[in-house]
């Protein structure tokens, strides 16, 4: 055979390692992202991540949109907990505009944000189970994620990409069905979560698969910009809800669970404990919401006529409401100049919005601090020398959401 028929890359025959493409569309990546793994047998020598497969240029698009239209972009970041992104965005706008929201709005927001945190962690933890070969837990808890989605549906009409709330509060008051469903959730969910925990927490196979894999020290985690459950699993008790409280989180009693080793097992445990904490926060918030009586119980938004759409009936009968309606819908409201950074505790960590306004109708620059994007760069360090199957577990326990990764 002459040389010209087969042309292999130089050194490829002498090479003792195997190159494996994991992704971009592989069931175990749970999203569109690629990993080029260099394997020595089943051990990982090096990893190279390729991301950006679903990059949608949100930051660029946002430069042409009025504030209220950007909410739909934030939906699509971490789509497992889009209400948190929505609220985070509204809180950023409110900070820029100096809007103070009524307590009832804050508490309703807390209920929704904690529900979405539960649904986010639920997905992550059950997917870790699926990747370890335990499908049952996943199917079991999906019913309750469905219930959470039904609550979203009652509140805003949508399920996944919610576009929930407006600058200043909610678009409408919570109806009775929503409250009934929240009550149902509070009543039934603890039992389900306990059952889910029983399936995994002290399960020998699950522990063997997760303990000691994908570990990171607290120091490295901080250096890598980890936030959220992944940082807390490494032992740092940093939580935006506590360190810079927003939406009246200071009114609630809750603990920040922390791990010690920062491995997959600790990440799983931290998320699990956080669900219990979230549940307790929802209970407290629900109590507080029930305490509002009379006209206070009908408050669901702050008074920001320039940004909050007026009642439809008023639009037809009152001049001022008509003007505001027109100006808001056409995006003709000038935003005050300034720059603001605001962060909320998203499902994956500190979700930040850095907004620069030059006094125009749209942001001059908007940057999303996407926690997923920042901590995924540690993946190579987390998996170096690990088995291929552990890398899969690490990937799912980091809770990589392609939407948030690519922005």
């Amino acid at each position: 055979m002459s040389e010209q028929h087969i042309k292999l890359p130089e050194g490829s025959i002498e090479k003792t390692t195997t190159t494996l493409n994991l992704g971009p569309t592989h069931p175990a990546t749970h999203g569109v992202m690629q990993n080029v793994l260099e394997l020595d047998g089943e051990r990982i020598v090096s990893t190279e991540q390729t991301i950006g497969y679903i990059h949608r240029a949100f930051e660029k698009i946002a430069e042409r949109r009025p504030l209220y239209q950007i909410t739909t972009l934030t939906d699509r970041l971490n789509y497992c907990s889009s209400p948190i992104n929505n609220m985070g965005w509204h809180l950023t706008c409110e900070k820029l505009l100096g809007v103070k929201t009524p307590k009832r709005v804050d508490y309703l927001r807390v209920i929704i944000m904690e529900l979405s945190r539960i649904s986010d962690h639920l997905i992550c933890n059950s997917i870790v189970g699926v990747d370890a070969g335990a499908y049952t837990g996943f199917l079991y808890v999906m019913q309750y994620r469905e219930l959470i989605y039904e609550i979203y549906e009652e509140v805003c009409g949508a399920r996944l990409t919610t576009n929930m709330g407006r600058i200043g509060g909610f678009e409408r008051n919570f109806n009775n069905i929503a409250f009934e469903k929240i009550e149902k959730f509070l009543k039934e969910y603890p039992k389900v979560l306990k059952e889910f925990e029983n399936l995994f927490q002290r399960n020998r196979i699950f522990m063997d698969r997760t303990k000691g894999t994908g570990a990171i020290s607290a120091e490295r985690a901080l250096n890598y910009g980890f936030t959220g459950p992944n940082l807390r699993a490494a032992g740092i008790d940093y939580d935006v809800r506590v360190h810079s409280p927003y939406s009246s989180y200071e009114d609630f009693q809750f603990n920040i669970p922390v791990g010690t080793t920062g491995d997959n097992y600790d990440r799983w445990l931290v998320r699990e404990q956080e669900m219990w904490q979230s549940l307790s926060i929802i209970e407290q918030a629900y109590q507080k919401v029930q305490e509002f009586k009379g006209t206070d119980a009908d408050v669901f938004h702050a008074d920001v006529p320039e940004y909050y759409l007026p009642e439809k009936a008023d639009v037809y009968t009152k001049m001022e409401a008509l003007i505001y309606h027109f100006k808001i819908v056409m995006g003709e409201t000038e935003i005050p100049a300034g720059e603001v950074y605001n962060a909320v505790e998203g499902g994956n960590g500190e979700l930040g919005f850095y907004l620069i306004s030059d006094g125009g109708r749209t942001p001059y620059r908007l940057h999303f601090r996407r926690p997923c994007f920042i901590y995924y760069q540690a993946f190579e360090e987390l998996t170096k020398g690990a088995m291929l199957s552990d890398a899969i577990m690490t990937m799912s326990s980091l809770n990589l959401i392609a939407g948030e990764l690519d922005g």
Binding site: R64, K95, G225, V340, Y354, R365, H367, F373, G407
Partner: protein
Amino acid sequence: MSLTNEIIKARLTEKFGEEVSSFEEPYGMLTFEAPKDLNLKVLNFLYDDQELKFRFMTDLCGVHYPNNKGRELAVVYHLHNMVDNVRIRFKVFTDINQPDVYTATGLFSAANWMERETYDFYGVNFVGHPKLKRILNVDEMDYFPMRKEFPLEDQTRIDKDDEMFGRGGAAGYGTDTKEEDNRNSVTAEADKHDETGRPIV
């Protein structure tokens, strides 16, 4: 004693004198800038100083100000002191024709991808970065899309055959049949590209 913006400002001016400037406090966050050659010195000082301890990089991003001649591109660092729970914002500006800024990857591993993202969208060349290549866009791209000279698509254009979105197409939404010929000519126009691959408007 908790760390206040005044203390940080005093410490910085004590160390760098006139070099650090433009102190502001929008919405309570201390914001300042320094010459781009000093960015690592400032970051190192903020990191190492026993009082300041800004050891967490929250965010790094670019901003483009096309009218600021000589300092068109900004790199904005958001740093966080988690012990005292104080955040600051630090900016460096650079000329767009020579957008070289030293990399912060030596200090913060988190800066790696964030710098790649900033390079990808604004073309800031981070000197010393271990692997400065595009991250979210395709490798073949030869321009920096977040710069202000690249406007978004004109929303009123009707030349797109975009039936599913109610513009043009067989159903003729958004246009009437009279405009059909006209529309095709516009399409031909839009197909022209310059050598960088951008459509000629």
